[in-house]
Each structure stands twice: as structure tokens, then as C-alpha cells.
């Protein structure tokens, strides 16, 4: 869904967000930021069998980064047949809620004319949603606060490359832990996405709840992430290893854990998207070929520094060498005097801390959501597979490639399916070079 006027040389916002169509769950995962804010709520989880309940609602939030919450916009809800159900106005948080007579399909329309100056809807002004019994159905409208169009001369491909790099580094940071855990324990941890979500959420709570600035909040979140990683290892995986649980069983357990955590988070946190506060300016700075907000720049710098530190740690420090030794051959490492359990614990703590930091960075660009980590998990898998399952550096290279690929793919495919592009890439890799870029063939059979 390329914006008609989007072409090289046209001015663009820092994240290529103008190409996005109406906000969808697909694009939410992506790197759109402050200029197009999707008032997103959690994915409606539609499952069969919720019968006979009451209290259906449609809910949503209208806000953009510049204008903040938009108050007093009329929202009209009608049945698909056109019978008006009710209208509501957004409150001072930009939120609206409309009670529905029962489950079914409804059309939600906002009054585009009453939006503040400069704010426009990026898609249609109405959404049709299916509301299951008992659901509060989130409705989202993509809003653009009109700051696009300033500045000049940047090249679309370069812009996407930079965006992709930022996204890829972010994926890499989360994926390194995933890969190291796989390398040292053999566990394909499907609950790794929840480490990301919990990190982002924790930082959000510290940031907005306790009023701590974002940088110390992120550091606190990393500590929290490390603690949560340790809890994972000590409370679940170590006892399971002791019981001799097989790898396949462990994998399914990790999925159970993922579901448990993900939906607990949704219950506790709710289906909302929330930004961090105190971020300062969100204006993109023009660097000639591309534009970048300071936050994105900081995000890139932090990612690179942290990843370099991780690499340095793996190469130089005693514990890093021990990690590689354990990943290399656990029994051999154990027999040569390495405390394998301790190494695995450190890997989990490191993985948790990195995932938490990744979550904070994702929250910066994408807001904090209950399922943000799960959405990222599949891209992490793509990156890790591309690089070669179990290799730390492979995970790094693979993730960056996936991030860049996903962003660059929007040159040719609509941005709301660019995520699909990443998953197609994953399958293509499996066909061409299943061992990944840095992996060796012998391991995969």
C-alpha cells in the first residue's frame, strides 16, 4: 500500500511510516514511531466458544505523539447494516468506550473533520470489527500528525536501510540470548519473547509509574530482566533438567510458559499500547541521505555498544569462554571443571537482561504492548535460523539481515505485510542453506 506520493526524493519521516496503510496488527510490530501513532490496543484474541456472556464493548484511543491524546472526537458505532448503536466522545486521555448490544460485527467511525489541525487519518475513517461475546474489542485508527513533509533530499532505500539496521540490531540483542540458551542447554525457548515484553513493561512501569527517567528505568529493567531470566532457570529449567525432561517436552513446556505469561500480562497490563514518557523531542534530524530521531540514533548506538560488549565478553572473559565451552560440548566442559549450571545461569541472566533492553528499545519505537515480544520472537527465530541455530555471532548477523530485509522489503511490498516477508525469508533460508550463514551442515541432520 505504497503511498501514492512516496517516491525517492520525497520527504519522509524517519521511519518510513508514511507508507503504512491503516494501522493493523501486522504493522504494529514494525518500526513505526512517533509520527504515525497507532492507537493500538491488544490483538483481539478471538477464540471459539465464548458463549452466553455479556458486556461487549468497543474501545480505543486517539492520540499522536505531537498532539497528545485527542479529546472530544465523536465516535459513532453502527451495526454492519447501518443501524446506529451509540456515539461517544473521546475523553481527556483520548479514549473512547461504547457499549454494544451483543456480539457481532460493528462499524466504528470517527469524525475526521473534528480532528485538530494537522492531524489526519492515514486510512479510512471507519473500521469494521467483529466483536466476540464478552469482548472489549479494541479499535485502532492510524493518525498522522502531519509533521512529515519537512526536510529534504533523503533517499528512500537508504532511509529503509538505516531503519532496518536499527530494527535488526534490536532483534539481534534479543536473539543473542535465545541463541546462547539454545547453545548451552539445547532448549528452543519459545518463551523468550515474553522476556522482551516483561523487560519493556517493567521499564514502562518504572518510567511512568514511579516517574524515573527512561535511561535509569531501562537499566533497572535490565536488572529486572536478568533476575527474571535467573528465575526462569532456577525455578523451572534447572529442575526440569534434573528430572531428565526431554528436549521436545521442554520445548512444549516453554510454549506453555509463553502462553501463561503472555495472557497474564494481558490481564494485568491490559490490551493497550503505551509510550514511555519524558523522551524529549521526537523530531527527526536530517542527515542528508536519511533522517533519524535522536531516540533511534541512541537506540542504534546502544545496540552496537552492547553487542560489542557481549562479543568482547564471549571472547575475552573467563565466563565468556566458559559459555562457549559449554555450548561447544557440555559434557566435556563439565569434565574439565567448568561449573555448567553456573554458566547456564549466567547465560539466562544475560539473555534476560539483553531481552529486557531490546524490549525497552522496541517500546521506544513501537510502544509497549502485551504481545510485542511474541511478535518479535518469530523474527528472532528467523534471524537465529538465518545465522545458524546455536551460534551467537550467527544470531547477530542473521538478525541484522532480517531487520534490514523486513524494512527494505517495503520498497516492493505493502508495509502491512512486510512482516510476512521476514517469515518467507525464513522459509527460503531453510530451503537454500538450512545450516545458516555461519552454521555448519553437519549439525542439522
Amino acid at each position: 500500500m505504497r503511498h501514492p506520493s512516496a517516491r525517492a526524493g520525497r520527504t519522509r519521516d524517519a521511519r518510513g511510516a508514511i507508507r503504512s496503510g491503516p494501522g493493523t496488527a501486522a504493522s504494529r510490530v514494525l518500526l513505526r514511531l512517533l509520527l504515525v501513532l497507532v492507537a493500538a490496543c491488544g490483538l483481539a484474541v478471538l477464540v471459539p466458544g465464548t458463549a452466553g456472556a455479556e458486556g461487549e464493548q468497543v474501545v480505543g484511543t486517539l492520540q499522536t505523539s505531537r498532539s497528545g491524546p485527542i479529546e472530544g472526537i465523536e465516535v459513532t458505532v453502527a451495526t454492519v447494516d447501518g443501524d446506529e448503536v451509540d456515539t461517544a466522545e473521546t475523553d481527556d486521555d483520548g479514549r473512547f468506550e461504547v457499549d454494544l448490544p451483543g456480539p457481532g460485527q460493528y462499524t466504528v467511525t470517527i469524525d475526521a473533520d473534528s480532528l485538530p489541525d494537522g492531524v489526519v487519518i492515514t486510512g479510512e475513517d471507519s473500521r469494521t470489527v467483529t466483536v466476540d461475546a464478552g469482548r472489549r474489542q479494541p479499535v485502532q485508527f492510524g493518525l498522522n500528525d502531519g509533521s512529515q513533509g519537512a526536510g529534504g533530499g533523503n533517499v528512500e532505500a537508504v532511509q529503509l536501510l538505516v531503519d532496518g539496521l536499527r530494527f535488526g540490531l534490536l532483534i539481534a540483542m534479543c536473539a543473542v540470548g535465545l541463541s546462547l540458551i539454545f547453545g548451552t542447554t539445547g532448549l528452543t525457548n519459545f518463551a523468550h519473547g515474553e522476556l522482551v515484553t516483561i523487560g519493556a513493561l517493567f521499564a514502562w512501569w518504572v518510567n511512568t509509574g514511579l516517574g524515573v527517567p527512561i535511561i535509569p528505568a531501562a537499566i533497572i529493567a535490565m536488572i529486572g530482566g536478568a533476575a527474571f531470566g535467573a528465575l526462569n532457570e532456577l525455578g523451572l529449567w534447572r529442575p526440569l533438567r534434573r528430572r531428565g525432561t526431554g528436549l521436545v517436552a521442554a520445548l512444549v513446556v516453554s510454549i506453555g510458559l509463553s502462553l501463561l505469561l503472555r495472557y497474564l500480562i494481558q490481564i494485568v497490563y491490559g490490551g493497550f499500547s503505551n509510550p514511555y514518557t519524558g523522551l524529549g523531542t521526537s523530531r527527526a534530524v536530517d542527515y542528508g541521505l536519511f533522517r533519524l530521531t535522536n531516540q533511534s540514533l541512541i537506540s542504534i548506538v546502544i545496540s552496537i555498544v552492547v553487542l560489542l560488549l557481549v562479543a568482547l565478553m564471549l571472547q575475552r572473559t573467563k565466563i565468556g569462554k566458559a559459555m562457549r565451552a559449554v555450548a561447544d560440548n557440555r559434557d566435556l566442559a563439565a569434565s574439565s571443571g567448568i561449573n555448567v549450571n553456573r554458566v547456564i545461569l549466567v547465560v539466562w541472566m544475560m539473555g534476560g537482561a539483553l531481552a529486557a533492553l531490546g524490549g525497552v528499545l522496541l517500546g521506544l519505537s513501537d510502544q509497549v504492548r502485551w504481545d510485542m515480544g511474541f511478535q518479535l520472537l518469530l523474527l528472532m527465530f528467523a534471524g537465529v535460523t538465518l545465522g545458524g541455530l546455536g551460534t551467537a555471532y550467527g544470531a547477530l548477523v542473521g538478525s541484522v539481515i532480517v531487520g534490514v530485509f523486513v524494512q527494505m522489503s517495503t520498497l516492493v511490498i505493502p508495509s502491512d505485510v512486510k512482516y510476512v516477508g521476514g517469515l518467507v525469508l525464513l522459509i527460503v533460508i531453510l530451503v537454500i542453506r538450512p545450516q545458516g550463514i555461519l552454521g555448519s551442515r553437519a549439525r542439522i541432520g
Binding site: M1, G21, T24, A25, A26, L43, A44, V45, L46, V47, P48, G49, T50, A51, G52, A53, E54, G55, G123, R127, T128, T130, G134, R135, R136, T188, L240, T245, G246, L247, V248, A249, L251, V252, V253, I255, G256, L257, S258, L259, L260, L261, R262, Y263, L264, I267, L378, P414, D416, V417, Y419, V420, L423, L426, I427, L430, V431, P434, I444, G445
Partner: protein, 332 residues
């Protein structure tokens, strides 16, 4: 007391209705994949979505006959199985797991995307394709029939009946296959692929057959679901449902012919009972609103499923009726 009875009745309906059929069919397919062959298909819901949309798109968009739509849906599932199996079945098990979960999620995102909405209806989905099927019911489908304390519409009843017949037929098929030498090869592959290769069996071919067979069963599940609800919407096919089906399978006992059926009935009953019961308790004020609100209840089922999956795998991997000894032998 009335609430309790009502909750029991609603749960009973869900455990006997199309919802249970849906999960039983998904789980029968997973049983072929995971229980018998040891394949980790984490994208079963993707097969179901292709089945459901096969009918929906064929009928509403292409104007084809309902039964042609069924064939289209099945063919799409076969195609997906081949597409996923060709590259990954030669690789270690977790590659299939990653590829299938990615494919299911990717397909859903694709189907709900704006660019696909001319065909799939996007987030709105498609509706109005099940008329030809519902009209086959030998009774009046516009009426509602009171059964076991709840009311079933004639259409629901018809879909559930046909669905359970389908489940029975597929169970028979699985039973026949798994006592044959073909099934023996599958089970051997689950135990150790290399040993089976060394005995001259084309493991890759068997795994592919298994993947296709189980995928087709998943597609049938998706068809039952969309025909019963009368609508096909990509967001009905959330990936968490795959794991609900895994829970069904493990609860009932994997590698048992009737395991998925038993598991589906029990799990659907428990989940729906918890669901309705909690709503009633919240409605009565027994559970204070601050602790849990009615909107949270829909998420509770997945929390329960996640927890159940973990506890089952750790403490009763053989399912509720299974023989522990059999599972202990699993050295993997």
C-alpha cells in the same frame, strides 16, 4: 445454584458442540504429526485457516459450489504441507517447529492485511458461505432446540453432528493406519529416524505423508469451525489455538487413537466452565471487580491452557489416562 447449573450447561454445550469438534480435529492431525511421527507442527492453525478460507473464498468470492470449496481448502492444506515439509523435514525437529509457527502467523497476517482484503475480506473476514451446507440438515435450521439445559440452533446441531461423524471417521482412519506396517514405520521414525533409515525406509517420504495427512485433518477442523460460525475471519485463527490443540492432545493422551477426542471434550468443558463460572462470580460480586474483570476472563483460558500444558508435560506427559511406563521409555 442456578448460575452453577447454567455454567455446567454452557460448558456441556461447548464440550459437545462444534468447538470441541474443531479442537478434536486439530488434535487428531497433531496426533498423527506429533504423537505418532514425532513431528513438531506448531502451525496447525494455519492449516485450519487455509481449510476455512478455502471454502469461504471459493464460495463468496469465486462463486463456486460449496463442495468445490472443500476441495480447494484441502488442496491448499496439502500445498502448505508440501511447501513446509520439503525444506524442513530433512532437518532437525525444531526447524519444522519454527517454520510452521512462522508460516501460520505469516499467513494470518497476510490474510488480514489490507492488500489481501479484496480476496479474504481482511480483518472483516468473509461470511455467508455456509448456506448450501446448512440447508442439507434434515431438520428445521431456523428453530432452536433445547438440549441439556441450553439451546442449540438447528444449524449448530447439524454442524456438530456432521463434525462428530467426521471425527469418528478420522479416528477410524488413524486406527486402521496405525495398526498397519505403515503406522509402524511412523512410530519408529518418532523413536529414532536414523535407525529407520538404516533399515531401508525412506524416512523423508513417510514424514511428508504424515505432515500432509495431519495438515488435511487440521484443514477439516477449520472448515467445521467456519461453517459453524458462518464467518471466516483471519483473527479467529490465532496461533494460540494450535497450543490449545496440543493441550487437548496431551491431556487425552498422545499416540492414542481416541486421545484427541477425550482431550477435546474434557478441555473444552473445563475451559468453558471456568469461563462462564468466573463471569458469573464476577457478576455476583463474589470476585471483586478490582481483582478480575469480565473482560479478563477471555484471557484466563489461555493462562489455564499455558499452565495446564506445562503441568501436563512435567507431571503427566502420558495424559490423564496414559501409562507412565510408556513415557518413561522416551529417552529423548
Amino acid at each position: 445454584m442456578g448460575d452453577l447449573l447454567n455454567a455446567l450447561a454452557v460448558a456441556g454445550k461447548s464440550a459437545l458442540g462444534f468447538q470441541a469438534v474443531f479442537f478434536a480435529l486439530l488434535a487428531i492431525g497433531l496426533n498423527v504429526h506429533f504423537g505418532y511421527t514425532g513431528l513438531l507442527n506448531f502451525g496447525q492453525i494455519g492449516f485450519a485457516m487455509l481449510g476455512g478460507f478455502g471454502i469461504a473464498i471459493s464460495v463468496t468470492q469465486w462463486g463456486l459450489n460449496f463442495w468445490v470449496g472443500v476441495v480447494v481448502g484441502l488442496a491448499a492444506a496439502v500445498f502448505l504441507a508440501l511447501l513446509l515439509g520439503l525444506p524442513t523435514l530433512r532437518l532437525r525437529a525444531d526447524y519444522l517447529a519454527i517454520a510452521t509457527i512462522a508460516a501460520a502467523e505469516g499467513l494470518r497476517l497476510l490474510f488480514r492485511s489490507v492488500s489481501a482484503s479484496p480476496v479474504t475480506g481482511g480483518t472483516r473476514g468473509l461470511a455467508g458461505f455456509n448456506g448450501a451446507f446448512i440447508s442439507l440438515a434434515p431438520w428445521d435450521t431456523s428453530r432452536r432446540y433445547p438440549i441439556l439445559g441450553t439451546r442449540w440452533s438447528g444449524g449448530e446441531l447439524w454442524v456438530a453432528l456432521v463434525g462428530w461423524v467426521l471425527v469418528a471417521l478420522l479416528c477410524l482412519l488413524v486406527w486402521l493406519l496405525m495398526r498397519s506396517p505403515w503406522g509402524r514405520v511412523l512410530k519408529a521414525i518418532r523413536e529414532d529416524e536414523d535407525a529407520v533409515r538404516a533399515l531401508g525406509k525412506n524416512v523423508y517420504l513417510y514424514k511428508m505423508q504424515s505432515l500432509v495427512l495431519g495438515g488435511v485433518m487440521g484443514a477439516l477442523g477449520g472448515m467445521v469451525y467456519v461453517v459453524a460460525t458462518g464467518a471466516a475471519n483471519p483473527d479467529q485463527f490465532q496461533n494460540a489455538n494450535t497450543f490449545l490443540a496440543y493441550t487437548v492432545l496431551i491431556l487425552g493422551g498422545s499416540a492414542r487413537v481416541l486421545g484427541p477426542v477425550v482431550g477435546a471434550v474434557i478441555l473444552l468443558f473445563v475451559i468453558q466452565f471456568a469461563d462462564t463460572g468466573l463471569r458469573a462470580l464476577i457478576g455476583n460480586g463474589v470476585i471483586p471487580e478490582g481483582l478480575l474483570s469480565a473482560t479478563d476472563v477471555a484471557q484466563i483460558r489461555f493462562v489455564l491452557v499455558g499452565l495446564g500444558l506445562m503441568l501436563l508435560l512435567v507431571f503427566r506427559p502420558q495424559g490423564i489416562f496414559g501409562d507412565r511406563r510408556e513415557v518413561m521409555l522416551d529417552a529423548r
